[in-house]
């Protein structure tokens, strides 16, 4: 045990009918990100820096639901949120309601490092971005043709559904995530967790949020303790049905059972996924200060990958 470890995710709740070509694309991207993180760790960058730089990479790629390629809100625009936490000292930063900031995770980092606060949102966050001189773009930069199409389908699906949750097993073969058929659901969120060779843990999460969300809707990704958490013992990033993750304070939960029940990382992750989601569907990735890495999810697939210092590397989408 010991040594560095890193895990990344591109969202939980994957369409089982996702074309093979897209699955390959996803795995390539996850691999690229892992390699980027691993190089940085070998160059002795701190966990917090590695987590940020890997999430930036995921934000820049339009494949996953963050930064470019973010899901669209009910008005067809992109509203992004992100959070980052440094296990040493439990410092944190979060942002919501961003529409022109190219890399939300980096703005979250600046909130942590350069502001007296932990969380800034909407026009206040955008002003702070200007003040800090981060790279800004038009909202159009984030919007992909594919997501415009998905939004249209999501709206059609939502008008068919009278309740945002159609229970499974009522004769319907359609799998649902957060009120949408799995085929139009954009797995919410990307994330990265890192433990460096000094045992410092960090976690970072970024997203465009739920497809067709009400404008102003905040999910779990920017909420410390829900979508993101890091402390001395671990770093955690979650993805899936935001509301279920918030209710379950999922990310904090992993740390809490390790701290208060003495569970190891793997046990803690299993426990939390099994017991803290109730009816909800979600997944998470986690690292421990001992150099371990683990992931868990209770839905149909999670884009993920992990690597450790001793040369282990694995990417996957479906059940272990």
């Amino acid at each position: 045990m010991g040594g560095w470890a890193i895990a990344v995710h591109g969202g939980a709740g994957v369409d089982p009918d996702l074309p093979l070509e897209r699955q390959e694309q996803a795995k390539k991207l996850l691999t690229r990100c892992l390699n980027l993180g691993a190089s940085a760790l070998r160059a002795d960058l701190a966990a917090i820096d590695v987590a940020e730089l890997v999430v930036r990479e995921l934000e820049n790629d339009p494949f996953f639901n963050s930064g470019r390629g973010s899901a669209l809100n009910e008005n067809g625009r992109v509203e992004m949120e992100a959070s980052i936490m440094d296990g040493s000292g439990r410092r944190c930063g979060a942002v919501s309601g961003l529409s022109t900031v190219k890399n939300p995770i980096s703005l979250a980092r600046l909130v942590m490092d350069k502001s007296p606060h932990s969380y800034l949102a909407f026009s206040g966050a955008e002003s702070f971005a200007r003040q800090q001189g981060v790279e800004l773009v038009d909202n159009d930069y984030f919007i992909t043709e594919e997501n415009v199409g998905m939004l249209k389908m999501a709206k059609e699906a939502n008008t068919i559904l009278f309740d945002y949750r159609v229970p499974l097993g009522m004769g319907s073969p359609i799998q649902m995530m957060n009120g949408l058929p799995i085929s139009v659901y954009a797995p919410e969120t990307v994330g990265c967790v890192v433990v460096d060779s000094r045992g410092r843990c960090a976690a970072a999460t970024s997203t465009g949020g739920l497809m067709n969300k009400m404008t102003g809707r905040i999910g779990d990704s920017p909420l410390i303790g829900a979508g993101t958490y890091a402390c001395d013992l671990c770093g955690v990033s979650c993805t899936g049905e935001g509301e279920a993750i918030i209710r379950g304070t999922l990310a904090r939960e992993v740390g809490a059972v390790m701290e208060y029940k003495g569970l190891g990382l793997e046990e803690a992750v299993d426990f939390v996924i099994k017991n803290r989601l109730d009816e909800g569907k979600a997944g998470l990735i986690a690292v421990s200060n001992k150099g371990e890495v683990a992931c868990g999810f209770n839905c149909c697939g999670m884009f993920r990958g992990s690597a450790t210092e001793d040369g282990f590397m694995e990417v996957g989408i479906w059940d272990q």
Partner: protein, 332 residues
């Protein structure tokens, strides 16, 4: 100070606790600053107790008590909210019940009762948390009472903002007036900066729990700053074991996931409500930063704080009640 009801006993009673903020409330607080707040706490406690006595669900009770606290301008929520660096009001609130249903709002500027809008988010949307323009639009859709943004601003808060700008810092809920070139705060009778987040937790005799918190945030906060209040697990939390509402320095409460940790300690380490809350306040958060009120499913109540004082009140079914500002052994 707390009445502990034997968890083995089948007799559980109702309990309620509420707060008007924790912070550096000077012992020299003049009567004209102290009395209105004590009276307000007494009044709100009474309202909550009456509601519990007629078997109103705890979720309704905490909402109605916090509405009352929001309407009282001496507390930092609703009318009387502290001001952002731009002199505006941005309110946030959160409500949660023991089944873990919850709702939260941030960045409200015209909604008279943020806590009620939080409840509507919980009940009338598939989401948990709405903020800023989206939340304001939802408020209009729902037809809740809204007023001109200026209606929330009080002269006292304009003065507080001015002071904070002069001292060039962001004040936590309660800070004593700052002397510019002196690092240590000395209590002063004037420069009334005694305001804070408001919150209420309640449990009925069946063990149903609820928590509600509401605030204007930090004096001179950056526009768009969100604190701990609307973050589930930080400032507000409830599950089948307990209900918690925290107050103090938002950034510290967020990092320590204060409200969730009280429940987690009970569940994972078997601590009692009192022990769990004391641990969070004494061990998990830096001194001078946090206070909280909490009730358990078995009718216990606790109100610990690591600041100079916390405006608070509580009552339990067997007749115990308490209203206070400073630690009980210090209170005159």
């Amino acid at each position: 100070m707390q009445i502990l009801i034997d968890p083995g006993s089948r007799e559980m009673g109702w309990a309620i606790a509420l707060h008007g903020g924790a912070g550096d409330i000077p012992l020299s607080l003049p009567p004209e600053r102290r009395q209105p707040r004590e009276a307000a706490l007494r009044h709100c406690l009474q309202i909550g107790v009456e509601a519990l006595k007629v078997n109103k669900p705890p979720l309704d009770v905490v909402e109605l008590v916090v509405r009352e606290l929001e309407n009282i301008p001496v507390f930092n929520a609703g009318k009387g909210s502290v001001l952002t660096s731009k002199g505006t009001v941005e309110m946030e609130a959160c409500i949660m019940d023991g089944t873990k249903r919850c709702g939260a709002v941030s960045g409200l500027t015209t909604v008279v009762n943020p806590i009620s809008l939080a409840r509507l988010v919980m009940e009338n949307t598939p989401h948990i948390y709405l903020a800023f323009d989206g939340a304001e639009a939802f408020a209009r859709e729902q037809g809740v009472e809204t007023v001109d943004a200026n209606s929330f601003i009080t002269p006292e808060n304009v003065e507080r903002l001015k002071q904070a700008k002069e001292a060039n810092r962001v004040q936590i809920d309660y800070t004593q007036p700052i002397q510019k070139d002196v690092k240590e705060n000395k209590p002063e009778a004037d420069g009334d900066s005694q305001l804070g987040t408001v919150g209420c937790v309640a449990v009925d005799d069946l063990g149903n729990l609820a928590s509600a918190t509401s605030t204007g945030g930090l004096v001179n906060k950056m526009v768009g700053r969100i604190g701990d209040t609307p973050i589930i697990g930080a400032g507000t939390y409830a599950n089948n074991l307990c209900a918690v509402s925290a107050t103090g320095k938002g950034e510290a409460i967020i990092r320590s996931t204060a409200a969730r940790d009280v429940a987690a300690l009970m569940e994972y380490k078997g601590l009692s409500l009192k022990e769990a809350a004391a641990y969070v306040v004494e061990e998990s958060t830096p001194k001078g930063n946090v206070g909280l009120v909490a009730v358990s499913a078995t009718g216990e109540v606790t109100m610990p704080f690591n600041t100079t004082g916390m405006f608070r009140a509580c009552a339990t079914e067997d007749g115990y009640w308490e209203i206070g500002i400073w630690p009980s052994d210090v209170q005159k």
